[in-house]
């Protein structure tokens, strides 16, 4: 028999002792920092040594012993025969965990800064139950972490494909193997993502630049103006000075915020890599904590593809994966991967959905009540804003009214465009929702993954037979507002799709 890795009980990397010791010291420090501060402030007394330092030293010694014991009693191995992962741990009381392969939800590899320094990875095995059921091995060498993660994820696939009733799997398998790909995003790619992220910011920067150029031209013109204007210059100058100063300040703030965004993008997505293996999508990223997430298409509950015109120009698109989640960490289950080329988006979709066509042939649009509702909200907000300013004695009321009218019109136009762009519909296997005028997004939910649906009707919609719909999935909800009953009738098709399948959905 070939020797399989991890089949014998083994310890984590020896450097793990250090990690255990550090986390213990940290806990001790957190408990005692007030006391330590007191000692430092008061200055060393005669009996400090006797009463503080000696117990502290003893405590440290005990902690070292405890760390060693914890390390040496932390044993794990893979039982290939029983198809489970076995972990024994505990210094005073021993805990033995047997985790069958088919209970494994997800295997992640992460690195904190400390782990980065000492060169180890932590491996987390998520199970179907609550958060307390998850297993964490905190110090593994890179090779061990990666191979163990691969073994567990592959084992899990074997376990689940066994009860996969669909025929023809072998053919599909081979096809999938042939189509694996890796996509990395380097520094330049991340820079592009950071620069094109917030559209509003980019938009404002451009307009302010134009403004400042315009004002420069104007000042140059002013130099050449006639004597007639010279009489007015004191007035213009002071005003102008303030104006340019304001613009510079604005640009400074905007550039700063842009830098912050770029920094954020770098921290979150450093060394971003997305990879498709035979059965999984693997995402690896992050500077501060290195995250690695591996999931099967089955676990994907909802997919969003997002882009904006500037990003489209640079061929940057974003995937947002919503995975099945336990109630406690809803936030964790959303993974966004920006900076992807359109080819990768296509390949990813085709892998995740078995190459089925995701295209809306006929779509629905929201009822015009959708638009009216938005306008009403904007109108109320504006009236509140203006009425709250009524008590102030403005010298230039006309200006205020002008500005608010213009911005009101712009907002209404924007909502109108949003309204025009919004479309949704069912295909044979999917619910697809497209929206957005600037930031365009496409949401895709496979119909059989739906957990339920809520049909809502406020009483002011009753007369017109208009509804709001909320689709529930294990990876979050999707709401569509103001739909006609023609679309609501198709809920029956959705239910038919969910209830006529017994495919595993998470």
């Amino acid at each position: 028999m070939i020797e399989k890795p991890f089949n014998q009980p083994q310890r984590q990397s020896i450097i793990g002792i250090l990690l255990i010791f550090f986390s213990l010291s940290y806990k001790l420090f957190k408990g005692l920092w007030a006391l330590l501060l007191l000692i430092i402030i008061k200055g060393p007394a005669d009996n400090t040594l006797q009463y503080i330092l000696i117990p502290l030293a003893v405590g440290f010694l005990l902690m070292i012993v405890y760390s060693y014991l914890y390390y040496s009693r932390f044993l794990f191995h893979v039982d290939y025969e029983k198809e489970e992962f076995v972990l024994t741990k505990g210094v005073f009381s021993t805990e033995k965990i047997n985790l069958p392969f088919d209970k494994i939800q997800q295997v992640d590899i992460k690195r904190s800064i400390l782990q980065r320094i000492i060169g180890v990875y932590s491996l987390t095995i998520d199970t179907a139950g609550s958060k307390s059921n998850e297993i964490q091995i905190r110090a593994l060498k890179e090779n061990d972490a990666k191979s163990l993660s691969n073994i567990l994820t592959e084992a899990k696939v074997e376990g689940s494909t066994k009860d996969n009733q669909e025929g023809n799997t072998e053919f599909k398998e081979n096809q999938k193997l042939a189509n694996t790909w890796v996509y990395r995003i380097g520094t330049l790619g991340l820079l592009k993502v950071g620069l094109t992220k917030g559209f509003l910011r980019g938009f404002i920067i451009i307009t302010t630049f134009i403004f400042s150029i315009y004002s420069k031209i104007k000042t140059n013109l002013e130099d050449a103006t006639s004597l007639l204007e010279e009489k007015l210059t004191p007035f213009i100058d002071t005003n102008f000075h303030n104006f340019t100063l304001g613009i510079f300040l604005l640009i400074f703030v905007l550039l700063l915020s842009m830098l912050v965004t770029i920094g954020e993008v770098f921290i979150r997505y450093f060394n971003l890599q997305i990879k498709q293996t035979a059965h999984h999508i693997e995402v690896e990223m992050g500077l501060r904590t290195n995250t690695r997430i591996t999931f099967q298409p089955r676990r994907l509950q909802r997919l969003r593809v997002r882009t904006n015109p500037i990003q489209q120009f640079f061929n940057l698109n974003e995937f947002v994966f919503s995975l099945a989640s336990s109630e406690n960490d809803l936030k964790n289950s959303k993974i966004s991967v920006p900076g992807l080329s359109i080819e990768i988006i296509k390949k990813g979709k085709s892998f995740l959905y078995d190459g089925r066509l995701i295209k809306l042939d006929s779509f629905h649009k929201p009822h015009w009540l959708w638009f009216r509702r938005r306008i009403l909200i904007i109108f109320i907000l504006f009236s509140l804003l203006i009425s709250s300013n009524l008590q102030y004695d403005f010298s230039n009321w006309n200006l205020l009214i002008l500005i608010s009218t213009i911005s009101f019109i712009i907002l209404v136009l924007y909502q109108w465009l949003l309204f025009q762009k919004m479309k949704f519909g069912f295909t044979e296997d999917f619910l697809i929702v497209k929206k957005g005028f600037w930031t365009k997004s496409e949401d895709i939910i496979e119909l059989y993954k739906m957990e339920g649906v809520s049909i809502k009707q406020p009483f002011w919609y009753r007369k017109r037979n208009v509804y709001n719909l909320k689709f529930h999935t294990a990876g979050g909800d999707l709401t569509i507002r103001a739909v006609s009953d023609e679309f609501v009738k198709k809920i029956n098709y959705l239910l038919y799709k969910v209830e006529s399948t017994n495919k595993a959905w998470m």
């Binding site: 099945a324 989640s325 957990e451 339920g452 649906v453 809520s454 009483f459 999935t473 979050g476 017994n502």
Partner: protein
């Protein structure tokens, strides 16, 4: 591409229509219970506050707050009375339906195969009026969970049994 499954056209009109389901009403005691709670909160919380304010404090802000709260309670009373008729539940072969709300009427449909577990709750006031609440949980967040109030414990239990029977038979089919 997808040659491994058959693909008959499904006409939506021929599918079972959820709109035609007859909803069962819930017990009228639910309304009585809700009104009792409102009455108690008025008598023991708001009324003492109003009296205290009128006799001793006479603060205009407190007056405003108490009038506002009074209006809110009145509004809640109307809501409780109106929404009683909107409460309704139904079981079909493969899913459970629950309708509630007057201002916004919400109908939630949960396929049996997506139900994780169920629970029956009975609060103090529920016991007083002999009713209970059946809670149905799904795997996702809490937004798709439903709680059917105003069921007599007997009905709640039999509903729970009926649903778990369906859930089990679904599981068996899946294996």
């Amino acid at each position: 591409m997808a040659a491994y499954f058959t693909n008959k056209e499904v006409s939506i009109a021929s599918l079972p229509q959820y709109e035609q389901v007859n909803f069962h009403p819930i017990s009228k005691n639910q309304r009585s219970k809700a009104l009792t709670i409102l009455l108690i909160s008025f008598l023991f919380l708001l009324l003492p506050f109003i009296i205290f304010n009128q006799l001793i404090l006479s603060d205009p802000l407190a007056t405003f707050v108490s009038v506002f709260t009074l209006l809110f309670i009145a509004f809640k009373c109307v809501d409780v009375i109106l929404k009683q008729s909107k409460y309704g539940y139904a079981l079909r072969e493969k899913d459970a339906l629950f309708r509630r709300g007057y201002i916004t009427t919400v109908t939630t449909i949960i396929p049996f195969s997506r139900i994780q577990h169920m629970a029956i709750n009975q609060s103090l006031f529920d016991k007083l009026y002999g009713i209970s609440t059946l809670k149905i949980y799904t795997a996702g967040g809490s937004s798709s969970d439903i709680a059917i109030p105003g069921l007599s414990p007997k009905i709640a239990n039999s509903l729970k049994d009926a649903i778990s029977k369906q859930v089990d038979s679904n599981d068996r089919e899946a294996i």
